[in-house]
């Protein structure tokens, strides 16, 4: 039996006296699409930040692709982010003075070597082959998010972490982005999406629902949409 790609055990994160995450445990198999849901302040973004190596847990263990990242040094976390993680943010977070192509190449640069053709191909895959020389300010929100998706995929990450990827998009662009995520899922990528949207949650294989930093439940959506799994203890 293969080890899970992501293993979270008794995860805690405290900001002063506030417990953002309180004893969260779950596992994610490779190739799964997981929706992390819950009301505002429930700890969704904190969880995804810890999984992405952007933040450190106060207690508990996080193992991704066999690496216990909760024990990693700052330098090791930097390499982990470059090699294992593809980020998609709600605010897109593109470098404003770099073109679409260069924004994708930036991730390549921090990973290893840049390959302009490969970066152009990644933009083509998200339907932006004619926009590679445009600056973010010259692109629509949906196009910026597609650049961010191309950037997230360019280094073939083990795990794609998306924080409200459609939160700033209109309906038409939301459909485009969700179709892209679907395509990635079908291609075997492991995706964790933080979302408020029930519709997006239903597209995932499983929904991990948080409340007040605790795991409220894990709902299996795909293939058994009505089945509800109780949280691991």
């Amino acid at each position: 039996m293969m080890a899970p790609l992501v293993q979270v055990e008794h995860l805690e994160k405290r900001f002063g006296s506030v417990r953002a995450l309180d004893g969260v445990s779950f596992m994610v198999e490779a190739g799964e699409w997981i929706a992390i849901m819950g009301p505002s302040g429930s700890g969704k973004t904190t969880l995804i930040n810890i999984l992405g190596g952007l933040d450190r847990p106060s207690a508990g263990r996080v193992i991704v692709d066999g690496l216990e990242i909760s024990e990693h040094s700052e330098q090791e976390l930097t390499r982990y982010r470059a090699e294992k993680i593809g980020f998609i943010f709600q605010q897109f977070h593109l470098v404003p003075y770099l073109t679409a192509l260069e924004n994708v190449m930036l991730a390549q640069y921090f990973h290893s070597l840049t390959d302009e053709n490969e970066a152009a191909e990644a933009l083509k895959r998200v339907g932006l082959d004619g926009r590679s020389t445009h600056l973010p300010s010259q692109l629509s929100g949906g196009e910026q998010q597609r650049v961010a998706i191309a950037r997230a995929l360019i280094n073939h990450p083990k795990l794609i972490l998306a924080d409200e990827p459609t939160g700033n998009l209109d309906e038409a662009n939301e459909v485009i982005v969700l179709n892209l995520l679907r395509g990635l899922h079908r291609a075997g990528h492991t995706i964790l999406v933080v979302t408020h949207s029930q519709a997006i949650g239903n597209l995932a294989d499983r929904r991990i629902e948080l409340e007040h930093g605790r795991l409220a439940r894990i709902a299996i959506a795909t293939g058994a949409r009505n089945a509800v799994a109780r949280p691991q203890t």
Binding site: T78, R81, P96, Y97, E102, L106, Y109, F110
Partner: protein
């Protein structure tokens, strides 16, 4: 990719970077001007000091009797050195004489050399330009008052059995011993004293740096055995002290300018760091190492320093020429060795001023991306 990001980075922050560049170039210009002046000041000051009279004296050894004299052939030996440092050499024979009933010190010398060496003397009447003028004399201001002499007067000088009548060409105000003396040609003094071919001392005006003057004096001592070759202490000390003061002033001004420049660059870079914190947070989130991101900023600061230093050097040369013209009356020549020093200082200041950008290495990407 590094250079692509680098050029875009420069373009994106051009207003703030331009401000930092102006600050750096201004600091470098003043630094370059001061360094140019510092290197040239010694040469210029030495030249200025040479107009203030003799700075080296050749005389019989101080322990010998007061009557000891120098052989006039010493002048030929000095001339034979053909040194470019030797500006003027004036022989002197001092004798006790009388003008009418009054005793007076008579200084026989070469008029042409004395006028060159003491161009700052004030002369009421005329200088005597012929070296061996046997018909005229110059009279010191105090001696002229005591003897009741004025330009055009006749004065009869007597020493022992010899006497001569001379016309007063001018009254000299020197502010020194010459104010009490009568200056005649050397030949006249030697005839009156009955000491042909003899001198009391030789005054020399030697140009060059203190080290060059020291070396010249050693050469001189070599060709004039048995004679004392010594510097005019007051002048040498004044020159050394003035040079040291100017050097000190230049050093402290430079330090102040460099500190102010660093503070100016710091202010620009602090604002730039605020602007870039989001980009740095994002770069770190994408796996950019602190070392790699900082290399961008260090290169940027280095390039700014390089450009600022180069512009500043050119501006500094122009400034130094202008200051040289105002202070020394001649332009300061550009010294190329100042260029690498100016650029190195400018790069150092730019890197020190870029300190706020280095603090960006501590940015926590999660906080920045959350918008904190």
């Amino acid at each position: 990719m590094f250079w692509r990001i680098f050029w875009h980075l420069l373009g994106a922050s051009r207003a703030r970077l331009a401000l930092a560049l102006v600050t750096l170039a201004s600091g470098a210009a003043i630094t370059s001007a001061l360094l140019n002046i510092d290197l040239d000041a010694e040469r210029k000051l030495t030249r200025e000091f040479r107009t203030l009279g003799a700075n080296v004296v050749v005389a019989p050894p101080s322990e010998s009797s007061e009557a000891a004299l120098v052989d006039a052939a010493a002048m030929d030996r000095i001339a034979a050195l053909r040194s470019r440092l030797l500006s003027v050499a004036a022989p002197y024979l001092y004798i006790a004489a009388s003008a009418g009933p009054q005793p007076v010190i008579l200084a026989g010398t070469w008029f042409d050399q004395v006028s060159k060496m003491n161009s700052w003397w004030k002369v009421d009447g005329n200088w005597i330009t012929a070296r061996d003028d046997r018909s005229q004399c110059l009279v010191g201001r105090i001696a002229a008052r005591q003897l009741g002499l004025a330009p055009g007067s006749l004065v009869e000088l007597r020493a022992g059995d010899h006497k001569i009548s001379l016309r007063v060409a001018g009254i000299v105000t020197a502010g020194s011993a010459e104010d009490n003396q009568i200056l005649t040609s050397l030949a006249v003094a030697q005839e009156l004293a009955g000491l042909p071919g003899r001198l009391s001392l030789i005054q020399l005006s030697v140009a060059g740096t203190p080290i060059e003057i020291e070396a010249f004096m050693s050469r001189l001592a070599g060709v004039l055995p048995g004679l004392d070759v010594r510097p005019v202490r007051q002048l040498a000390a004044a020159e050394g002290s003035l040079l040291a003061r100017i050097r000190g002033l230049i050093f402290w001004t430079m330090l102040l300018i460099l500190t102010l420049t660093t503070l100016g660059v710091l202010a620009s870079m602090a604002a730039l760091a605020m602007e870039r914190s989001r980009d740095v947070g994002l770069m770190k989130a994408l796996g950019g190492s602190v070392r790699r991101i900082m290399r961008l900023f260090r290169t940027e600061a280095g390039a700014l320093g390089l450009l600022g230093g180069t512009i500043g050097f050119v501006a500094g040369v122009i400034l130094a020429r202008w200051v040289g013209g105002r202070v020394f009356g001649v332009a300061i020549s550009p010294r190329w060795e100042v260029f690498p020093v100016t650029v190195a200082l400018s790069v150092g200041v730019a890197l020190a001023g870029a300190f706020p950008l280095r603090l960006l290495g501590r940015v926590r990407p999660a906080e920045i991306l959350r918008g904190e």
